[in-house]
Symmetry: C2
Subunit: 202 residues, 2 copies
């Protein structure tokens, strides 16, 4: 025996969310139907509105329902710095943790030729155009420290070089609160070769 | 700075799901918008249809969009046994794991006077009526082994007694694969006092 068709369909479709398997989908479906039908209705509307309304910022590719995202349309930010990240969540992470006041460019992925993701898919043309405007003086590359992220960073630094723009990459090393003993070799090696003269910190 | 209003609303409403906090909601929202807009649209429709269509089975209170759920309307099940559980997920758990061929009754909760949940909220009248029909000969109580589940089990066994129906409760003890050394005291005590003569198993 199985669930009624409508319930089964709800459980199956809930699995489109990342990290939600059969058991979690079942738990979520029952929770919503038993205890929070109002919330489920709201969620249904929010999903439909988001899918219909949210596109990409025409300047930085961030997710937004407007022509320009809240950062690109904010007054008083520093036009000389442009930080390139892989995903919209990274924008929020940098924005929340650092005092960075420049602009962003969201690749929505990383170079991955095997998956058919090349410069075209990452909006590199738009970035090229942006760098060509002559206002950006530093390209801060904040792609992830993975093989694909590294390849993407390499590609971006070449692009910056073409425009005579300085390219920098965020530091990789031992995280705060981490202990050397438990840090993996690759990270430690990065931290070691990326060492800085202590005076610089004063 | 924050997300655009529509994105913010999606992230906030995603949090109505159990186990989904701010970070998970953000991750789900980005995943759906970046990689699975089709799935998000389907989910939106499935949620709306489920909220509008799914109610309770008029006989056992299981969630279903029909008058009777798939179990209550299945032919050939044993009318002499009725298993009482707390939630629809419990029905599926018993159904999947055991060869039980009787019917179910779903309380949709447990007695909890402090939260204002009494017999009325658990559909006890409907159960009383069902037991009064005279077809049920064994009431299998499968409420959870918690304080409220125990109180509910006690209440249900009294109800069964009123109708001269045998009440049984599923066994609590050491789970298969568990080791005595690591089982908590309450469970071990239950297992000890619920011991059975070995010959019965032959």
């Amino acid at each position: 025996m199985s669930y009624s068709p409508l319930l089964l369909r709800l459980i199956e479709t809930l699995r489109c969310m990342p990290g939600v398997g059969r058991k979690s989908a079942q738990r979520i479906a029952f929770h919503l139907l038993e205890r929070d039908r109002g919330g489920a209705g709201e969620l249904s509307k929010a999903l439909a509105d988001a899918v219909a309304g949210i596109g990409q910022c025409s300047r930085c590719r961030m997710l937004t329902e407007h022509e320009l995202c809240t950062i690109c349309s904010a007054p008083g930010r520093d036009e000389s710095q442009l930080c390139v990240v892989e995903s919209p969540a990274d924008v929020m992470a940098v924005e929340d943790a650092t005092g960075y006041r420049g602009f962003y460019f969201v690749l929505m992925g990383h170079l991955s030729p095997l998956d058919g993701i090349g410069p075209g898919e990452l909006g590199i043309e738009l970035l090229d155009e942006r760098l060509g405007e002559g206002k950006v003086r530093e390209l801060i590359i904040a792609t992830n420290p993975t093989v694909e992220g590294d390849a993407t960073a390499h590609f971006l630094s070449n692009l910056a070089g073409k425009h005579d723009i300085e390219a920098s990459r965020i530091a990789h090393g031992v995280p705060l609160g981490g202990e050397l003993e438990y840090v993996d070799g690759g990270t430690l090696s990065h931290a070691f070769f990326g060492r800085r003269v202590v005076d610089l910190y004063c």
